[in-house]
């Protein structure tokens, strides 16, 4: 039988649901697709964007201050060393926690959105160097990331981690530093082509004066460093401060269009969003509860269903999805395995809290390199080796020639190409080996 990717034929209902869940979650299990099939598309979308699932996963770690920055001035060398160690432990703790939560949490879309915003306001712990501040920012993503984008932006211009990341604490009336203002225009709110260099300069003046107390994570406006003068930003003139600047930005239709494009880019397709869809998403934003309503409109749009196969799984989506489907959980892996997992994510260039630049994570074909495949081979081998027998039984129960089909169901792959099918058939005697091959397969690499 000739291979048909199914892209040209009408989608089976189950394939539609699988597509939705692959995008709106970190990787659905077969049981989740079964449940969605029972509920139907509309109800499934409503549940995804609806109130939290009671299973939140492991609770957010509590970190009240940064151990190093809270030291008294006269701290001894030994105290400093100990504080640095504590900080390192905190950084490992929040990284492990988030990874674990991505796998376990019932509210998968909420987790996906927290991750989306992390990539949007891409801030790295490499420079911020404080688990406490990164976690404060993370909580802001969860608190504001579903509703009104304007409120969200106003919270972010006060966010200590973002301010430190983009040198905002160095931005003063006497000597403006443009870093934060530029990225607010270019990467966070409007996108290139919607502002001028003069807007960057004036925006930087509006953002002057914010200082961060690193120990406590409090930010405040120091009036002696703030430029209270008149600014002209994007055609508006006034004595704008940070909030005023945000209002000018967010009153532009370009800002909602920008957010809609970014959501489409990560949840739907690397191809540009069709103008008609963009229009719908922006209207939905205004008509309802901001970002959540925009998501609802996106998932419900027929154009979204047509984007199957148009995204490459990001390494975290790939690894977290695999663990969800294989019944594995990072926090219960043996120490060595957990280390291997974290090292592999590092090798794949995607570790939570460590985006490569303020531009966020790469996209699409950029993830598909021979180098990344080598890392995936090793990680896939480990994950397959640790897969519990109860999960493996789902493959072994099938007769040998049917095992690749059982594998497709387990991994929520719509269909194998004859190419991959032949490779899986060749390994079907050894279901762990077949599983590892399925995990690295081209079909499982995209969604």
């Amino acid at each position: 039988m000739a291979y048909r990717s199914g892209l040209l034929s009408p989608m089976a209902e189950r394939d539609k649901l699988a597509h939705l869940l692959r995008r709106a979650t970190f990787g659905p299990t077969a049981e989740e697709v079964d449940a969605a099939e029972r509920d139907g598309l509309e109800a499934t979308i409503a549940r995804l964007v609806g109130p939290s699932d009671p299973n939140l996963g492991p609770p957010i770690p509590v970190i009240t201050n940064d151990p190093v920055d809270s030291l008294p001035r006269d701290a001894t060398g030994a105290q400093r060393e100990a504080a640095r160690k504590t900080r390192e432990t905190q950084i490992a703790t929040i990284t492990n926690w988030w990874l674990d939560r991505m796998v376990v949490a019932g509210s998968q879309l909420e987790e996906k959105m927290a991750f989306f915003w992390h990539g949007h306001w891409a801030t790295s712990i490499e420079k911020v160097d404080s688990a406490h501040l990164m976690l404060l920012q993370h909580n802001t993503f969860r608190r504001y990331g579903q509703g009104d984008f304007a409120a969200f932006v106003k919270a972010m211009v006060r966010d200590p981690a973002l301010i430190l990341w983009l040198d905002g604490q160095r931005n003063t009336r006497k000597a403006p530093n443009e870093n934060l203002a530029r990225e607010l225009l270019e990467l966070f709110c409007l996108g290139i082509g919607n502002y001028t260099e003069d807007d960057v300069k004036a925006g930087a003046r509006a953002l002057t004066g914010w200082v961060v107390e690193r120990g406590s994570g409090k930010t405040r406006l120091d009036m002696s460093r703030y430029d209270a003068g008149e600014k002209t930003i994007l055609g508006q003139t006034g004595k704008f401060d940070a909030d005023g600047f945000a209002d000018v930005l967010l009153n532009l239709p370009a800002s909602q269009r920008f957010v809609a494009r970014r959501l489409w880019f990560r949840f739907a397709s690397g191809d540009p969003v069709p103008e008609e869809v963009l229009h719908k998403l922006v209207s939905a934003y205004h008509a309802g509860k901001g970002i959540t309503t925009m998501l609802l409109a996106m998932f419900s749009h027929p154009a979204f269903l047509a984007t199957r196969g148009q995204l490459v799984k990001q390494p975290l989506e790939w690894a977290v999805g695999a663990m969800r489907q294989l019944g594995l959980r990072p926090s219960t892996l043996a120490e060595n395995d957990r280390k291997q997992l974290m090292n592999s994510l590092d090798g794949l260039d995607q570790v939570p809290f460590r985006p490569p630049s303020v531009g966020g994570w790469p996209h699409g074909a950029a993830w598909l390199t021979s180098h990344s495949i080598q890392v995936r081979l090793r990680l896939a081998e480990m994950l397959a080796a640790r897969t519990p027998n109860s999960v493996l039984a789902k493959l072994n129960e099938a007769p040998q020639e049917g095992r690749p089909d059982a594998l497709a169901k387990l991994l929520v792959v719509d269909a194998w190409t004859p190419r991959t099918r032949a490779v899986l058939d060749g390994a079907a005697k050894d279901s762990r080996k077949m599983l590892a091959l399925g995990l690295v397969s081209p079909e499982y690499s995209v969604h």
């Binding site: 291979y3 630049s357 699409g364 598909l368 390199t369 490779v423 060749g426």
Partner: protein, 414 residues
Amino acid sequence: MDFLTRRKFLLASGVTGAGAIAAGVTWLPMKEIMQTAGELTGLAPGVPKILVIVTLYGGNDGLNTVIPYNDPAYAKARPDLAYDEGEVLKLDEVAGLNPALKGMHQAFERKQVAIVRSVGYPKPDRSHFRSMDIWHTGEPERPGNTGWLGRWLDTAGGDPRLAVSFEQVLPPLLAGEASAGAVVGGNGLRLPKTFNMKSISGLGQVVPGEPKLQARAASCFEALAGVDQLIKDVIEDAAERAKAGETQATGTGGQTAIQQQFNLVAQCIEAKVATRVFSVSLGGFDTHADEKQPHQTLLGMLDRAVTGFLDRMSKSEQGKNVVVLVYSEFGRRVKANASDGTDHGTASDVFLLGHGVKGGIYGQPPDLKDLDRGGDLKYTTDFRDVYATVLERVLETDADRVLPKWSGRLPQIV
């Protein structure tokens, strides 16, 4: 933007989705490149023929690279960042090199370094991503999705072996419309025991009709088999020739990433492979605060790698056919910010180095008293003049096919 590494920058660039790359033509078995050993013909002694392009990612601070040491406006604009006359390595009565560029200074005195001053493009863009896209594409008005050397490769027949990068992903500048350069990188291939070459190449068969990105994923498997061979062949070849006393052995250990890239380039050139363009890069130039020392460290890495390479090239005939071009996406603002750093700027210097280069200073030095409205330097030489000159004088190509209707050229610099 911070902590931007070379590889990650490449990943973030909008150009990487370009035509030829999307088709998946990225990796080549090295065997195929090494099989071209000896194929580089038509070499005339000392006449440029091979280009090594060095990209400095993050915006190298031009004013602290080629320093207007006795310009009071410079010292005034950067009280804590400026170098004084006693520190710089003098080039002439107005300009001196950063003290970290000792080797390049010596090469300048040997007349093997040409420095083109104040290079830029109209309406400078201060976004790293956008500006780097502009330099990669050579299209400042509207960066498209092909790189300037990728378009050259299209005109040169499209054989990927002609344009090679030792970076982990293909730099956008090597992506053409119909063809793309080859990438050689990573370490040797050791398959985990679950996998064998048969299954790997099995997964590498592209199936007609499958989604584009899925096909791309498959093609990575196809390429995987070639990766190991590629590195092995270069290293073996170098070792053999070292044994035969033809050249020095590969340096090992303690090398910076850019040195390693240059070593692989050197090995290829010594083997006279068919490659005409090599791409090399160094990242980390994106600093905004307390940047004097880190900047000097980076320049030192660049200096050691480039001058080590030039020395090595001077030992073979074909090495004298090499031209190295060093550039960054923009310079920095004249005035320091309050954080002892500099913000994104505009025009900066481009370096051309090699045996066949007519050393000296070209173009207009920056005028710190005549800044644009943003407090930035005005460019006086368009970067396309540099590209066009290199296309004609090094790659022996009609520049019009790569940069249509661009008539600007540098004086007889190579």
